[in-house]
């Protein structure tokens, strides 16, 4: 009997606490997104002071998947020049990174593989100042090394039975790929039917460019569209087929400091370093084209 009374009052208490907490949680989301902005403004005033002490702390960089190897190299060089700073990465599709930024994920720098996702972040006041373009890249068609489906050109993507993997439509490379297919279909040499035939061959919308690359390396799919730089990372495991120049789009990579950063000086220094000649040389070695 006493135990019953106890458990009943406990249950009522639990429910009351839960409701209060849940309301607080769901209502609190926009507020918590706003709080870091206050910290950011005070950090901004610190930048204005003329004497700059050596940089320190942690810089968390949200970067497009295609930047994985290059940014790790750039961070190593940056840390050598700034021993007090640790650079940490979150590599994912730029669209996924933008979604995470929107949820107030703790980031200091955002490097996107397209202007669309950077603009989205800018539109929501998630980033600071004007984003700077730091690299360009070129989409290419990749096929498994043995190319069993016998893909020789962009035209073959429309062959019945070809298994194509693309990244999702919001992922930069997925968006570029769809633009390319649209442009090719507009070319009389390909014809309007090219688009439907090719899109019907798409068997998966992968989360990011590296997932597309993995499916091609494994030979699970016959063809995919990735960046030139990704194809270089895969080396002999994939074969590269160029997209006709007339239909290709140039991927533009913008970078910016995240507004909610708690380490503004170091974040700004990293952005500046990515645009330096030292970092640009590393990017070019990986196959990126320079920003200018």
């Amino acid at each position: 009997m006493r135990f019953d009374t106890f458990s009943r009052s406990a249950t009522v208490g639990l429910l009351a606490v839960l409701m209060a907490l849940a309301v607080a949680c769901s209502g609190g989301a926009p507020e918590s997104a706003a709080t870091p902005t206050v910290a950011a403004t005070s950090a901004a005033t610190a930048v204005a002071s003329p004497t700059t002490p050596p940089l320190s702390g942690k810089v968390t960089v949200f970067a497009a998947s295609s930047l994985t190897e290059s940014f790790k190299n750039i961070a190593a060089a940056f840390q050598k020049a700034n021993p007090g700073v640790t650079v940490e990465f979150n590599f994912a599709a730029s669209s996924a990174l933008e979604a995470q930024l929107k949820q107030a994920a703790p980031a200091d720098v955002f490097a996107s593989a397209d202007t669309a996702n950077m603009d989205k972040a800018a539109g929501k006041s998630l980033i600071d100042g004007t984003p700077a373009t730091f690299a360009r890249n070129l989409p290419v068609i990749v096929v498994p090394a043995d190319n069993r489906a016998g893909i020789a050109s962009a035209k073959d993507l429309s062959k019945a039975g070809t298994k194509i993997v693309l990244a999702g439509p919001d992922v930069p490379i997925g968006n570029y790929a769809r633009q390319i297919i649209d442009k090719l279909a507009a070319d009389p040499a390909y014809g309007a039917a090219y688009k439907d035939a090719t899109m019907n061959n798409v068997v998966s919308n992968e989360a990011n460019v590296r997932a597309v690359l993995a499916k091609i390396e494994l030979g699970e799919a016959d063809a995919g569209i990735v960046y030139k730089t990704d194809a270089l990372v895969s080396g002999a495991r994939v074969k590269t087929i160029a997209v006709p120049d007339s239909a290709n789009v140039i991927a533009v990579y913008p970078i910016a400091v995240v507004k909610a950063t708690k380490n503004r000086d170091a974040a700004a220094a990293f952005v500046q370093f990515v645009r330096s000649s030292e970092a640009q040389a590393l990017l070019e070695a990986a196959g990126f084209d320079s920003a200018s």
Binding site: L18, S95, V202, S204, L218
Partner: protein, 281 residues
């Protein structure tokens, strides 16, 4: 001990002890309960606040994913029952070499990260995989198909059924089966009429665990089956796709609510069915 039990039944002692520990155990229990429930309630409230929940839920994107999830997880459960019931019985009653090893093997997919299952399935059943290549020769391609979704779900969820059912079978006093056998009832008939009904609570809870695990499967599916609307994009994949797309968090929340409701209903139904079957046996 035996002299004590005459005066105070052990169970009475246990209840007394639980009561005296009540308040000590209450605070961590309340905190844990809040930890589990607060996010779920917040999800429901946020979904409500976002509005347009119904519009989002009735979009083709969500309906395709819902249908695919229901179809694949149900088929997974059927396959798990077909293969899992005999396997569980063998593991519980069989006396053969390597039984312990097999029991561990069955548990392995439960403790493995689903992404590992996805990679393993890809290496085995993918187009260039050991089994997959042979299947391709026969004109069967598994990767990027709904079949791949079911295989991924089966791999990660069937062990929950087998494990639960094995424990259920082991808990049955073998004398029931022996009596049935001495009465001249065939072994198969004994299994179907005596053993299986006695194991019904374990069968039900195992089936629900298996079904809900199949329903929530993400990692193995994403790697092995890919992500394509209407074909391989189940509800969990739709949630992650929505979250990472322009639909954003609101889209993800709307779909999450559906899964939350479906999973809750399944659990409640299973509890009720279990109670009824316990009452009847």
């Amino acid at each position: 001990m035996s002299t004590n039990s005459a005066a105070e039944h052990p169970r009475v002692v246990a209840v007394r002890r639980a009561w005296s520990l009540g308040w000590i155990f209450a605070s961590p229990s309340l905190l844990f309960g809040a930890f589990v429930l607060v996010p779920l309630i917040a999800l429901a409230i946020r979904g409500w606040q976002d509005g347009q929940v119904m519009e989002r839920l009735l979009s083709p994107f969500v309906l395709h994913a819902l249908r695919l999830s229901v179809v694949t997880s149900t088929l997974t459960l059927v396959l798990a029952l077909v293969f899992g019931v005999p396997a569980a019985y063998l593991l519980a009653r069989g006396r053969f070499r390597g039984r312990q090893l097999l029991t561990i093997l069955v548990e392995l997919p439960m403790v493995l990260p689903p992404t590992v299952a996805g990679v393993a399935l890809l290496v085995a059943f993918g187009r260039r995989g050991a089994i997959g290549a042979a299947l391709v020769e026969m004109g069967i391609e598994v990767s990027f198909t709904t079949t791949a979704v079911i295989l991924a779900q089966l791999f990660v969820s069937a062990p929950f059924l087998v494990r639960s059912l094995q424990a259920g079978f082991e808990a049955i006093d073998p004398t029931y089966e022996q009596v049935s056998a001495t009465l001249g009832v065939s072994e198969l008939r004994t299994f179907l009429r005596v053993t299986l009904p006695l194991a019904r609570p374990a069968l039900l809870s195992g089936a629900v665990l298996c079904w809900t695990r199949a329903l929530s499967e993400l990692g193995a599916t994403l790697i092995f089956a890919g992500n394509f609307e209407g074909r391989t994009q189940t509800m969990p994949l739709a949630i992650i796709t929505a979250f990472e797309s322009s639909a954003g968090l609101s889209g993800a929340i709307a779909i999450s609510l559906v899964l939350l409701v479906v999973a809750s209903i399944l659990l409640v139904v299973a509890r009720l069915a279990q109670r009824r079957s316990r009452g009847s046996s």
